[in-house]
Subunit: 332 residues, 2 copies
């Protein structure tokens, strides 16, 4: 059984692949005080990455008071187009290459060869199972986990951690603990399953939303509003199970299930199962166009990001400041 | 076609049934400056209602700066155990009796006889269709709508408005407009369907959550965390359709559906359909107990309410102050 590195000793993180997810991870790691070594085969991504960080930093400063200036952060960032060079001396690796199995397998095989056996490698993949990713790795396959962030990782706390067949349970536990240590909320997905938790739950909600739209029960705008101004508010602070439990009064979920179990089953059985035909897709697109009205795409993105940051600030700013103060990285 | 009352002329609202939902509605109407006449057959509810208002008011003051003192509000509240007396002179009625069809039908029939034809009656019912509620009403059935709040109505903006077979479209439109006018977010449910929008969407999410727990993919705590620290944050600010649209980049939802449509369909087809057996109920209860640990019920409720109020404050305080300034009720 491998002993993975002590969290307190982690100084340098290698981010492999600097697209949107990789760049956002860089921002988060830098905000936590780590040295970040970014790898991308495309030298031009260095400029894109820098621009991303300049754009992201004001948001990070709002949710993470101790994260310092962007100049301090950039001084801890370096970039390389050579994998072996980029990963040299890394204490942790977060891989964010395009979702191509053979590409990822090849890079992971090489990473495995370059890295000390006590360094955990996490892949941000949303669609490829850890068991496939680790197939070309040698004994180091045991330290490969999926660490799937919710986009964008520098703002949203959730990271889903999944091991493959060859992964050490110790590596999974290390990754769960490390993400928590650096201020993320890590959950353990115990079986490899498409969409992990969050995507599946989103797809379940979206399916019923589409059913309600398709059957003319409500407009796209009203379905969206019914989430945002109702259950969405609650889901930002409490999950579905605990929410049910508290709704049951002091006798809790047991009472709720005994009392409402049959209704819940009837509701479940009554949910829709739409087929995503071209006609339905057209209906959805028209409905979104009506919802949007004359607001521009840029305006909508800005509205979403401002509102999201407001909620994240009120929910996490204190907690993150606390984690931050304990983070070893920042003390350098 | 009846012309319903001008919003600017609404002064007095009758709240029928002062359980938790009725009391919460009283709080909201009072915070908007209306005179509220509360009815309950049980005289003791007068004391319960007053206690509820004293408890709710500090929260209302945080999200609605101009709502005044609780003493001002209580001066605008009166209580009666006589329906005809309570409803006399009302400009709008919100009914919140227990979910018993015959009881509601009888009270609505009497309300209809007492009230001027241009007064809309809304029922907070979550489970009884408007078409059934209005079955015993005479010509006034046309002004009966369901106006279903998301609990608690004094904090959560969503109200789902549904008409029955005999309801005027004008009454539905009036209710949609009136709820918006007083600072709620009203959505139009165009067909009578169990669970309207929000409950169905919650049930869809809950079904997949239960499936993931039942099949051992994740603990109850981790499923809850995967909502709260991921998609829940987003759902507090943007609905599922608009969120997909923006994720598609400038070419939007059409591009998303063209590109990811087949994956979405695969995800939908892969979602679970658990049966809520006793064994599964036990598993859920044990999982919630683990999630809770040694936190007391009261502590959990307090944590939820504080966090929920924080999010509502940041999302709605400005908007509500704005609505408030335009509300006629408050100017009295």
């Amino acid at each position: 059984m491998t002993n993975y590195r002590d969290y307190q000793s982690i100084r340098k993180i290698c981010v492999v692949g600097c697209g949107t997810i990789g760049a956002s991870w860089c921002a988060w790691f830098l905000s936590r005080g780590f040295f970040v070594r970014a790898f991308d085969v495309n030298a031009g991504q260095s400029v894109v990455l820098r621009a991303y960080l300049l754009h992201a930093w004001p948001s990070l400063q709002q949710i993470s008071a101790g994260c310092g200036t962007v100049d301090d952060a950039l001084a801890r960032l370096s970039f390389s187009t050579e994998l072996e060079d980029a990963v040299s001396g890394a204490d942790f690796v977060q891989e964010n290459l395009p979702e191509k199995l053979e590409l990822k397998q090849e890079v992971l095989r090489r990473l495995d060869a370059y890295l000390s056996a006590d360094v955990v490698i996490a892949s941000s993949t949303s669609g490829i199972r850890a068991t496939l990713l680790q197939a070309t790795m040698a004994v180091g396959a045991r330290r490969l986990v999926v660490g799937h962030p919710f986009n964008p990782p520098h703002l949203i706390p959730l990271v889903e951690v999944v091991g493959g067949d060859a992964t050490d349970r110790a590596a999974v536990d290390w990754a769960l603990g490390f993400y928590s240590f650096i201020g993320k909320v890590a959950v353990h997905v115990r079986k490899e399953i498409d969409g992990h938790l969050a995507t599946r739950l989103q797809m379940a909600l979206w399916r019923e939303a589409v059913h309600l739209i398709e059957t003319g029960v409500a407009s796209v705008a009203d379905v969206d509003a019914s989430v945002v101004h109702g259950p969405g508010l609650r889901w930002a602070v409490i999950g579905p199970a605990l929410s049910f439990h508290l709704a049951g009064g002091p006798s809790g979920l047991a009472q709720q299930l005994a009392h409402f179990g049959p209704s819940v089953q009837r509701w479940w059985d009554d949910l829709g199962a739409p087929r995503l035909t071209d006609a339905l897709a057209d209906q959805l697109v028209r409905g979104v166009d009506e919802e949007i009205g004359d607001r521009s795409f840029e305006q909508l993105v800005a509205e979403r990001d401002t509102a999201l940051l407001d909620v994240i600030k009120v929910r996490y700013a204190d907690a993150k400041a606390h984690v931050h103060a304990e983070s070893p990285g920042i003390q350098q």
